[in-house]
């Protein structure tokens, strides 16, 4: 019996000793310094943006000697899974990054701190980008970058085919005509690449005068006739006019690699390709505002810094967020690293952004902002995107007509997702 009691008490002692080790502890240094945890998916290490991010943090710590920043970057693919378990467990970083699409889900769950009064002067921020992170009248974050998508084109191929370069008044029809001429150069050369993905489709629908949600965002309108027509035309680039390579044609090659190899005339992709293309394209290239069909419409992507509702230091955290996102010092570093667009209106920052080439026509980036359409956003963002994506796949593979697939998609969205 005595042994039993001894062993039991030993076990108890062990549990008591080990338990504190599992509970999360925030490091508190002695002399009143505060340590803030910062987590993000952009600006990964060993890239130009990673260097810029480190520079921004160093500058912040210099200006705020009582605040230390502990940075952790996590790859985009794993970021949101990790974030979820941390938020649920109450261990979220003080400041973390969210993209626009996931922002609403977190804001609606009450996991973000209201920073409306903590931000200070926000007049330097681009208003569209700042408002994107306002949920039901409460500011939950500040945009740290935004970006859009433009038409990249291979100047060398256009020259070889004796074609005029794409201009801002081009439409889908012009793209098709030019693509065919470019493809006539060689059988290994493709005209255009723009897959029928969720992001391309919501924008494509808008370019054709449609929309996936009504203006009040209270109902899905996925099967509008304009959307059906847009889906049909976009899928047709692979199946009908065949100006765009299929997955089988690509055989595992990525669209950026295809462009860099000089075998693609035009590519619709994000301005975050600038750095890579500048370094790795052995030919001249430039950009233009993305062609629409009946009207122009361009992407709006934005990432933000938000403050965790569980943070012990919300005002310091908000200070860090505003500094990294919108201060002149930080945005200057961002521009120098070609790390998307700084979400600010300071003329000197914008000018220095524009002065970098290639692309020659960098103004197209800002001109595109006049046609921004924000993506449909739902509390169940990931599921909504997956549902829409799966029906687009049906259209591309020819399993269902655009009409049938989008009708079914509308029905499934209504049944499964709440707005």
């Amino acid at each position: 019996m005595k042994t039993t009691r001894n062993v039991l008490s030993l076990a108890l002692v062990l549990v008591l000793v080990l338990l504190p080790a599992f509970s999360a502890g925030t490091k508190e240094a002695a002399q009143g310094t505060v340590t803030l945890k910062l987590e993000q998916f952009s600006g990964s290490e060993a890239t130009l943006s990673g260097e810029a991010l480190k520079g921004m943090i160093a500058e912040f710590e210099k200006q705020n000697p009582t605040i230390k920043v502990e940075l952790q970057t996590i790859g985009y693919d794993d970021y949101f899974t990790q974030l979820q378990s941390k938020v649920v467990g109450g261990n979220a970083a003080d400041v973390f990054e969210l993209n626009y699409e996931n922002f609403v889900a977190y804001a609606s769950e009450g996991t973000l701190a209201d920073v409306t009064k903590l931000l200070g002067d926000t007049s330097g921020f681009n208003k569209t980008a700042l408002d994107a992170f306002n949920y039901q009248g409460v500011q939950y974050g500040v945009p740290n970058s935004f970006s859009n998508v433009v038409l990249f084109y291979n100047k060398a191929l256009f020259d070889r085919a004796n074609l005029a370069y794409p201009s801002s008044d081009w439409t889908w029809k012009d793209v098709e005509v030019a693509s065919k001429k470019i493809m006539a150069l060689d059988k290994n050369i493709w005209g255009f690449y723009r897959p029928l993905s969720f992001h391309e489709f919501y924008k494509g629908a808008a370019q054709n005068g449609g929309s996936l949600m009504n203006a009040e965002r209270t109902a899905f309108t996925v099967n509008l006739p304009q959307n059906v027509e847009a889906a049909k035309l976009m899928a047709g680039w692979q199946t009908d006019s065949k100006i765009m390579p299929t997955d089988a044609d690509m055989a595992g090659m990525g669209d950026w690699d295809l462009f860099k190899s000089g075998r693609l005339g035009m590519l619709v992709t994000g301005i975050w390709a600038f750095g890579d293309f500048t370094a790795n394209c052995p030919f001249d290239w430039d950009i233009a505002i993305e062609p629409g069909n009946v009207q122009k419409a361009t992407h709006f992507f934005s990432n933000s810094y938000v403050v965790s509702e569980t943070s012990k230091y919300p005002s310091e955290a908000a200070k860090l967020a505003v500094f990294l996102a919108g201060s002149k010092e930080a945005t200057k570093l961002r521009v120098e690293a070609s790390w998307e667009l700084p979400p600010v209106t300071y003329p000197e920052i914008i000018d220095s952004y524009l002065s970098i080439t290639p692309p020659e026509n960098r103004e197209a980036v800002f001109a595109s902002l006049d046609y921004l359409v924000t993506p449909p956003v739902s509390i169940q963002q990931a599921e909504m995107q997956a549902i829409i994506q799966s029906y687009l796949g049906q259209i591309v593979s020819g399993k269902q007509s655009a009409k049938a697939a989008l009708d079914a998609c509308q029905k499934e969205l209504e049944a499964k997702t709440s707005l």
Partner: protein
């Protein structure tokens, strides 16, 4: 209970305590919690504390059997289940045949037996992520060695993981490579336990090799074969990492061709913000596995022989 038995427990308890505590904390408690969560509409994104009003939280977010009803009423669930069954139909017979062959090769008194053992068992020790990446490369349509080898003999290889038709067979292929060694080792144990006198008697009676295999080895191995088929089926229902790494994650394979149950559970829990729904989903999976195991167990007496 006899005094001895009760005393036995008292003596044993302290020794069991560490693993018992582990099991309670990391298996039994989560199982109970998941059952409670399965009747709620928790998103999995808001904070919930076990020590602070958990039951109140469950009561406030109680939706009864709504989740279960929604899952069973959704065509997607039946699609995922059919993909699991398709996987099992391809995987189970092939895996049994190949691991049996491997076990026989290792069991035969030849020189390299130990080397074979190591070679067959290596994939088992490899992590699924590493294994999947190797297979992704092997099956790459243009750069992969498999299609290049096929091209040499004049066959144009399929798109494998990028093809709706071939995605699941590709997963089966990789899974067999990974699991074969494990089951071969269990079967080898069974082979070793067969009394050699049976073989000697058969040889004296002039039985052919095929006869020996069909009349002696198989019947005497049936209990082990039963165990292996049961275990591999349970594992097959839980098919997950190879699918996540090898096929395009966002779409669950080309046009959803490799959408399977655990993949759905993961997506609902950690991507789609429907933790309660995912918990209910995992209980449905549990019931399905239970039912299949029961059916197998029922069939057991018809073909399994326990007199080794």
């Amino acid at each position: 209970m006899s005094i001895q038995g009760r005393r036995g427990i008292r003596v044993a308890l302290p020794y069991l305590l560490p693993s018992l505590l582990g099991a309670l904390l990391f298996a039994i408690l989560p199982i109970i919690i998941s059952l409670l969560l399965s009747v709620t509409n928790w998103s999995g994104m808001s904070r919930v504390r076990l020590t602070d009003g958990f039951l109140k939280f469950v009561a406030e977010n109680f939706v009864g059997l709504e989740n279960t009803k929604a899952i069973l009423g959704d065509g997607e669930f039946w699609r995922a289940l059919s993909h699991n069954l398709y996987f099992i139909v391809l995987y189970l017979p092939l895996m049994l045949a190949l691991s049996m062959t491997a076990a026989l090769i290792i069991n035969a008194p030849n020189r390299g037996a130990n080397l074979y053992r190591v070679v067959y068992y290596l994939p088992v020790l490899t992590s699924w992520v590493a294994g999947s990446l190797i297979w992704k490369w092997l099956l790459s349509p243009v750069y992969g060695p498999i299609n290049n080898a096929l091209a040499i003999i004049g066959i144009e290889g399929p798109l494998w993981l990028q093809s709706e038709v071939w995605a699941m067979p590709s997963i089966v292929l990789a899974s067999i490579w990974k699991d074969m060694g494990f089951y071969a080792m269990i079967l080898l144990g069974g082979l070793k336990s067969i009394n050699v006198e049976y073989y000697e008697a058969a040889r004296i009676d002039g039985a052919s090799k095929a006869q020996v295999f069909a009349r002696i080895t198989l019947p005497l191995l049936s209990s082990v074969l039963f165990y292996v088929s049961m275990l591999s089926m349970i594992n097959a229902f839980q098919l997950f990492p190879q699918v996540m790494v090898m096929t395009k994650e966002g779409n669950a394979g080309p046009n959803g061709a490799t959408m399977v149950m655990v993949e759905r559970i993961y997506k609902y829990a950690f991507r789609y913000g429907k933790m309660g729904y995912a918990a209910a989903y995992s209980w449905i999976l549990f019931v399905i596995i239970m039912a299949f195991t029961y059916i197998q167990k029922r069939g057991e007496r018809r073909w399994v022989n326990y007199d080794v």
